[in-house]
C-alpha cells in the first residue's frame, strides 16, 4: 500500500473537471488543425489513385510553374532514410518507383494558400504503369505467423461446433483530421507541433528521415481530436518538416475528411475459422483456430496485432488444448495497424459467436456455457502464462445477466428500428438479447522495453506550494492530463497542480495506446512524486506529509510544507517500467508475453425490424473490472465510448473495399453511431486491485470496444435466427 495523502480535493478516485472539457463543448479548444504562424505556407499531398502501380516518371514542371507554389518535393528530396515504420521500416516517405495502395503519398507541395497547394498537386504528372493488385489477404505475402500450441493437438470432444467469421475494415473515425505545423529552426532543425499518440516514436522516425539528430527535431503536442490507434503511425509529420526545411517557412498541413481516410491505418479485416470441442456438460476440451488478417501494403503494427489476436484468441476461458495460428499478410489494400482493441476485437467476435453456437448445440444458456469455462485468477493462458491478478470473468457475466431486463419501448419513433425515418410503428419488430465477454492485454508485450518518464517539480508560487508535472504523454481526449494532476495531488498533498504541455524536452512516455497511459505515465508521475516527497522529507527528517504539514514518525508536526520547500524547489525525473514481459516461443507460442489482463462483459438488448433488417439497440448493460477507478467519470466515459465503437463495428462501420479501392471515404457513407443509435447504458464498475499496478488500476480504454460487438450481434441473432457470421451486419444480411 502507498501513503496516500488525505484531504486534498481532486485526488485519485475523484472526478475533477477536465481542463479541456468546457472548451471542447463550446468549440473553443485549439486543435492541431487550428495552428497558425503568420508567414506559414500550406502543404498538400499528391496520392496514388491506384492500389498497385509502377511509377515510370514524375513531372513536376506544371506544378512548380503555378504562382504561389514554393516547393514540390518527391522521394528524391528526402535527405535521410527514405522509409519509416513502427516495427518494420518499410513504408516510403514518398513513393519510390512504385505505389502499393490507393492513397499512398507520391509528392508534396507547399504553397501560400491551401487551394493553390492542392491545385499544384493536381498538376503533377505521374506516369503510372498499373499493376495487378493483391487484395485478398490469403494471396498476399506473409508478414507474421503466430502459432500457439498447448496440450494435445489431436484432442477430441463429444460436441464440436465450427464456424467461419469475418470482420470488415473499421476506421478509427476520429473527428480531428491529421494536421500539424512544422517550423524551421535556426539550428537547422525543425519544431513540429503535432497531434499524435507518441511524440518520441514520431521524433525518432522524423529525425531519421530528415537525416537530423533527434535533438534537432523537437515535437510539441498540439490539440488532439481523438486517436484510437490512428495516430500511432506517421502521416504528415515528415512531409511538413521536409517542406518547412526546404522553404525556410513554417508549413501547415491539414488533411480533409476524405484524405484522412487515406492518411491513417485501419483495423485489420479478418477471416477466422474456429472449431470448439466440449464435453456434454459444456466444458471446453479444445479450440482450434486460424485467423487471417489483412495487413495492407505496409507493416505498421501488424506483427503485434497478430500476436494479440493469437494470444487472446480463445477468449477469457480455460481451454486445455489449443491449436491457434494467426497470420497477417501484405496486400495492396490500405495499411492496417493499431485500432482500439488491437487484434483482440476480431478474435472476440469469432470466439464469442462460437460460445453461443456451443451453447445452442448443448441446449445451454449462453451465459451458463461461458460460466462453466470462465477463467479466474491462477488460470493458465494458452501461452502458458498464469493469470496472476484478479480475473472476475464469472462475476462480470453474472452481473450483466442479473441486471433487470431492458424496458419495453414507449412507442416513440426514436425508440424504433429506423428511428424518425418512420419505417415501422412496431411491424416486424422482434426483441433479442445477447452477451459477450472479452479479454485484453494492457500495455506493451512480448519483451518490449515499455517505460514512461515523468518530471515533477514542487515549488512555491506566491508563497503557496505548487506542483508542475511534465511528461511527453499524449492527451488524446482520454483525460490523461486530469489524471496526472490527480495523482500529483494525492501523492504530494498539494492541490495546485499544473500539467505542462507534452513535448520531447522530457523523456518518452510511450504511446497513448494499449490502454496503458494511466498505468504507465500515471505510474511514472506517481514514482516521480514519491521521489520528490522523499527528498522533501529528507530535508527535515520527516516521516510523512499530511494536510500541508511534515510529520515525524510519531505524528508530531515538524514543519509546514511551504517552509520546507522554501527557496529550494525539488525536482525529480523518473523513468518507470512495468514488470518485464517475454517473447513468445516462435514455434509453440509459449511465454509470459503480457503484463496485465483486463476484462469486460456486455449484455445487449436489441429490437430488430426483421422485414427491413434495421436494428435499434435498446439498452446495453456492461460490467468491467478497472482495478481502481482513478477518475470514475472518465472511466465511465471510456466505457460509453468504447461500447459505442463496438456497436458501430457490429452494425454499420466499414471501409468498403473493391479491388483495392476505397468506396466510401466520407462521413456520408462511413457511418458511425449517432446519439439515436447508442442506447442508454448501465455501467457496473468493479474495482479489484491488481497487486502490481499503480493504485491497483487496470487499463480501461479498450475492453468495452471488444465485447460490445459480439453482444450486439448475438442479440440480433436471437431476434432473427440468422447466422450473421460477418460484421458489420447489414440490413440485407438480416432480410436475405
Amino acid at each position: 500500500m502507498t501513503t496516500v495523502e488525505a484531504g486534498v480535493a481532486g485526488g485519485v478516485g475523484t472526478s475533477p473537471k477536465r481542463p479541456d472539457g468546457g472548451l471542447k463543448v463550446r468549440g473553443e479548444f485549439a486543435f492541431s488543425s487550428d495552428l497558425w504562424a503568420d508567414d506559414m505556407l500550406w502543404g498538400a499531398t499528391l496520392r496514388s489513385p491506384h492500389p498497385h502501380a509502377r511509377i515510370r516518371g514524375i513531372d513536376i514542371t506544371a506544378a512548380v510553374a503555378l504562382p504561389g507554389v514554393y516547393a514540390v518535393l518527391t522521394h528524391e528530396d528526402v535527405p535521410g532514410a527514405k522509409r519509416y515504420g513502427l516495427e518494420i521500416v518499410d513504408q516510403p516517405v514518398l513513393a519510390m518507383g512504385e505505389v502499393k495502395y490507393q492513397g499512398e503519398p507520391v509528392a508534396v507541395v507547399a504553397a501560400d494558400h491551401p487551394e493553390t497547394a492542392r491545385r499544384a498537386a493536381a498538376r503533377i504528372v505521374v506516369d503510372y504503369e498499373v499493376l495487378p493488385a493483391v487484395t485478398e489477404a490469403s494471396l498476399g505475402v506473409l508478414l507474421r505467423h503466430v502459432p500457439i500450441r498447448t496440450g494435445d493437438p489431436d484432442a477430441t470432444a463429444d460436441v464440436v461446433v465450427t464456424g467461419e467469421y469475418q470482420v470488415g475494415m473499421q476506421d478509427q473515425a476520429f473527428l480531428g483530421p491529421e494536421s500539424g505545423l512544422a517550423v524551421p529552426a535556426e539550428d537547422g532543425g525543425v519544431d513540429l507541433y503535432i497531434a499524435t499518440q507518441w511524440l518520441h516514436v514520431d521524433q525518432k522516425q522524423v529525425a531519421d528521415c530528415l537525416g537530423l539528430p533527434a535533438e534537432k527535431v523537437r515535437l510539441t503536442l498540439a490539440g488532439v481530436g481523438g486517436a484510437f490507434g490512428a495516430r500511432e503511425d506517421l502521416s504528415m509529420q515528415v512531409h511538413a518538416s521536409l517542406l518547412a526545411l526546404h522553404t525556410g517557412r513554417p508549413v501547415k498541413m491539414v488533411y480533409g475528411r476524405e484524405e484522412s481516410f487515406f492518411g491513417h491505418v485501419h483495423r485489420h479485416p479478418a477471416t477466422m475459422w474456429y472449431e470448439h470441442g466440449a464435453t456434454r456438460d459444456g466444458k471446453l476440451v479444445y479450440v482450434k483456430a486460424k485467423i487471417v488478417l489483412d495487413g495492407g501494403a505496409y507493416a505498421s503494427s501488424s506483427t503485434a496485432v497478430a500476436a494479440n489476436a493469437a494470444t487472446l484468441g480463445i477468449g477469457p476461458y480455460e481451454v486445455p488444448n489449443v491449436v491457434m495460428d494467426a497470420s497477417v499478410y501484405y496486400t495492396n489494400n490500405p495499411p492496417c495497424g493499431a485500432m482500439r482493441g488491437f487484434g483482440a476485437v476480431q478474435a472476440c467476435f469469432a470466439y464469442e459467436s462460437q460460445m453461443d453456437k456451443l451453447a445452442s448445440a448443448l441446449g445451454l444458456d449462453p451465459v451458463e456455457v461461458r460460466l462453466r469455462n470462465a477463467m479466474t485468477t491462477g488460470s493458465r493462458m494458452p501461452t502458458g502464462q498464469i493469470v496472476e491478478g484478479p480475473a472476475p470473468v464469472a462475476d462480470l457475466l453474472i452481473r450483466v445477466r442479473s441486471a433487470p431486463p431492458a424496458p419495453e419501448g414507449s412507442g416513440d419513433l426514436r425508440e424504433m428500428p429506423g428511428g424518425v425515418s418512420n419505417t415501422t410503428h412496431g411491424e416486424g419488430v422482434v426483441r433479442g438479447i445477447g452477451y459477450g465477454i472479452g479479454i485484453k492485454n494492457v500495455a506493451f508485450s512480448e519483451g518490449f522495453d515499455d517505460y514512461a518518464t515523468a518530471r515533477v517539480r514542487l515549488e512555491l508560487i506566491g508563497g503557496e506550494p505548487a506542483v508542475l508535472v511534465h511528461t511527453a504523454a499524449a492527451e488524446v481526449g482520454q483525460g490523461l492530463v486530469t489524471v496526472q494532476a490527480q495523482i500529483a495531488r494525492t501523492e504530494l498533498g498539494v492541490e495546485r497542480v499544473t500539467v505542462a504541455t507534452a513535448d520531447t524536452s522530457v523523456g518518452s512516455a510511450g504511446s497513448s495506446s494499449a490502454s496503458r497511459q494511466t498505468y504507465m505515465t500515471g505510474g511514472a508521475v506517481r514514482a516521480a512524486c514519491q521521489a520528490v516527497r522523499a527528498a522533501l522529507l529528507a530535508r527535515v527528517g520527516g516521516a510523512r506529509l499530511d494536510g500541508g504539514k511534515v510529520l515525524s514518525d510519531s505524528g508530531a508536526v515538524i514543519a509546514d510544507l511551504a517552509s520546507v520547500i522554501g527557496d529550494g524547489p525539488i525536482e525529480e525525473t523518473v523513468e518507470w517500467r512495468h514488470r518485464p514481459t517475454y517473447p513468445l516461443d516462435p514455434v509453440t507460442g509459449q511465454g509470459n508475453a503480457h503484463v496485465q489482463y483486463a476484462f469486460a462483459a456486455h449484455r445487449a438488448t436489441v429490437d430488430v425490424d426483421v422485414e427491413l433488417g434495421l436494428v435499434r439497440v435498446v439498452e446495453i448493460v456492461t460490467a468491467q473490472d478497472v482495478g481502481k477507478a482513478v477518475n470514475p467519470l472518465a472511466v465511465e466515459g471510456q466505457i460509453h465510448g468504447g461500447t459505442a465503437q463496438g456497436l458501430g463495428l457490429a452494425l454499420m462501420e466499414e471501409i468498403q473495399m473493391v479491388d483495392g479501392i476505397v468506396r466510401n471515404p466520407s462521413f456520408t457513407d462511413y457511418l458511425i453511431p449517432t446519439i439515436l443509435d447508442m442506447p442508454p447504458m448501465k455501467v457496473d464498475v468493479l474495482e479489484m486491485a491488481d497487486p502490481h499496478s499503480p493504485y491497483g488500476l487496470r487499463g480501461v480504454g479498450e475492453p468495452p470496444t471488444i465485447s460490445s460487438t459480439p453482444a450486439v450481434v448475438a442479440a440480433v441473432r436471437a431476434a432473427t435466427g440468422k447466422a450473421l457470421t460477418r460484421v458489420p451486419v447489414r440490413p440485407e444480411h438480416i432480410v436475405g
Binding site: 487551394e115 492542392r118 480533409g256 476524405e258 426514436r414 428500428p417 429506423g418 428511428g419 424518425v420 425515418s421 418512420n422 419505417t423 415501422t424 410503428h425 411491424e427 416486424g428 422485414e611 427491413l612 433488417g613 434495421l614 435499434r616 452494425l651 454499420m652 468498403q656 468506396r663 466510401n664 456520408t668 457513407d669 457511418l671 453511431p673 449517432t674 446519439i675 439515436l676 443509435d677 447489414r730 440490413p731 440485407e732 432480410v735 436475405g736
Partner: protein, 285 residues
C-alpha cells in the same frame, strides 16, 4: 469567385440572368459541401438568403404556396399539419443544424435522386414554381427531374417555391443504415385523397431520379374501398408493394444492394398504406 447578394427577388432574377453560371445558395448544406470538397468551383455564388419573400408561405387559391427558402425546421414546425408527408421527410434530413439551414428549394435545386423532400412532393402532386426575368412557370414536380442532379431548370431560372394541395392522408418512410443523419438507402412517400379518390406516390434513392410509381397509384386507386373505407385486403397491399418496387430501377452501391432496395420499397409501400388508410378509417375525411 464572385459572391452576389441580391436583396430583392427582382434583383436576384436579374443577377441570375446576368450570371447564368452563378450557383444559387440558400442554406448551403449541399453547395458548401461541394465547395469544401473541391468538387465544384463556380465562377459566382448567388446568395438568396436576403430575399425575404423566399422564406414566406401562404395560400394561393386552394393551393398552399411555400417559398423556396423555407427551412426544413420551419416545414416541421409550421406546416406539419398541412403537409405531414413533407414534414415527416424533413424530420429525417441530417441533424438539427442542417434542418435549421437546409431548404426544400435547395433540395429541388440539387435534384439528387436521394433528396428527402422529393418523394412527398411527388406523392402530393406538387408544382415547382420557376422564375426568370422572362417570366414565371409552374412545372409538375414529376416533370422537374431530368437525371441524377439534373432538372428542367434553365440557366437563367431560379426556384421560387412550390405549390401543393394540402389535406388527405400522407406518409413518408425512409430506410437508412443508422437511425438518424443518414442518406436514404431508399425512401417512399404516399398520399391518399378521399376527395379526389386518388393515390400519389414518390420513390427516392432507387432510380436515377426521384419518381412516381404510376402503375401502383392507378392500381391502388381502383382497389381501395373509398366509399365505406373498409380494410385493405392483404392481397391488395401485397400487389401495391410489388408495383411500387417494380417502378424503381435501383442499383447496388455502398449504401445497399438493388435487391434490398426493391424489397424494402415493397415493405415501406405496404406499411405506409396501412398507416395512411388507418388514419382515414379512424378520423374520417
Amino acid at each position: 469567385m464572385d459572391f452576389l447578394r441580391p436583396s430583392t427577388w427582382d434583383e436576384a432574377l436579374a443577377a441570375k440572368a446576368a450570371h447564368p453560371d452563378a450557383v444559387p445558395i440558400a442554406g448551403g448544406t449541399d453547395v458548401m459541401v461541394e465547395l469544401n470538397f473541391d468538387r465544384r468551383r463556380p465562377p459566382a455564388l448567388l446568395d438568396l438568403t436576403r430575399v425575404a419573400p423566399l422564406t414566406e408561405w401562404g395560400t394561393d387559391g386552394d393551393l398552399l404556396r411555400v417559398g423556396a427558402g423555407v427551412s426544413y425546421r420551419r416545414i416541421i414546425e409550421e406546416l406539419g399539419s398541412r403537409l405531414p408527408g413533407l414534414a415527416m421527410a424533413s424530420r429525417t434530413v441530417g441533424s438539427p443544424q442542417i434542418r435549421n439551414r437546409g431548404t426544400v428549394g435547395g433540395n429541388l435545386g440539387s435534384a439528387s435522386p436521394a433528396g428527402d423532400a422529393h418523394p412527398p412532393l411527388l406523392a402530393a402532386g406538387a408544382l415547382v414554381e420557376l422564375a426568370s426575368v422572362r417570366g414565371v412557370r409552374r412545372v409538375p414536380v414529376d416533370g422537374f427531374f431530368r437525371g441524377p442532379k439534373r432538372s428542367v431548370l434553365e440557366p437563367d431560372e431560379l426556384i421560387a417555391g412550390f405549390l401543393v394541395r394540402p389535406g388527405g392522408a400522407q406518409q413518408f418512410a425512409k430506410v437508412g443504415t443508422r437511425n438518424a443523419m443518414v442518406i436514404a438507402v431508399c425512401s417512399f412517400a404516399l398520399s391518399l385523397s378521399l376527395e379526389t379518390r386518388s393515390v400519389g406516390t414518390g420513390i427516392g434513392s432507387a432510380a436515377p431520379t426521384p419518381l412516381r410509381a404510376t402503375e401502383a397509384e392507378e392500381f391502388l386507386s381502383r382497389e381501395l374501398d373509398w366509399e365505406a373505407r373498409g380494410p385493405v385486403p392483404p392481397s391488395v397491399a401485397q400487389r401495391f408493394g410489388e408495383l411500387v418496387a417494380a417502378a424503381a430501377s435501383p442499383i447496388d452501391d455502398v449504401r445497399g444492394t438493388a435487391a434490398y432496395r426493391s424489397h424494402a420499397l415493397s415493405v415501406l409501400a405496404r406499411r405506409t398504406l396501412a398507416w395512411a388508410w388507418k388514419g382515414f378509417r379512424e378520423v374520417g375525411p
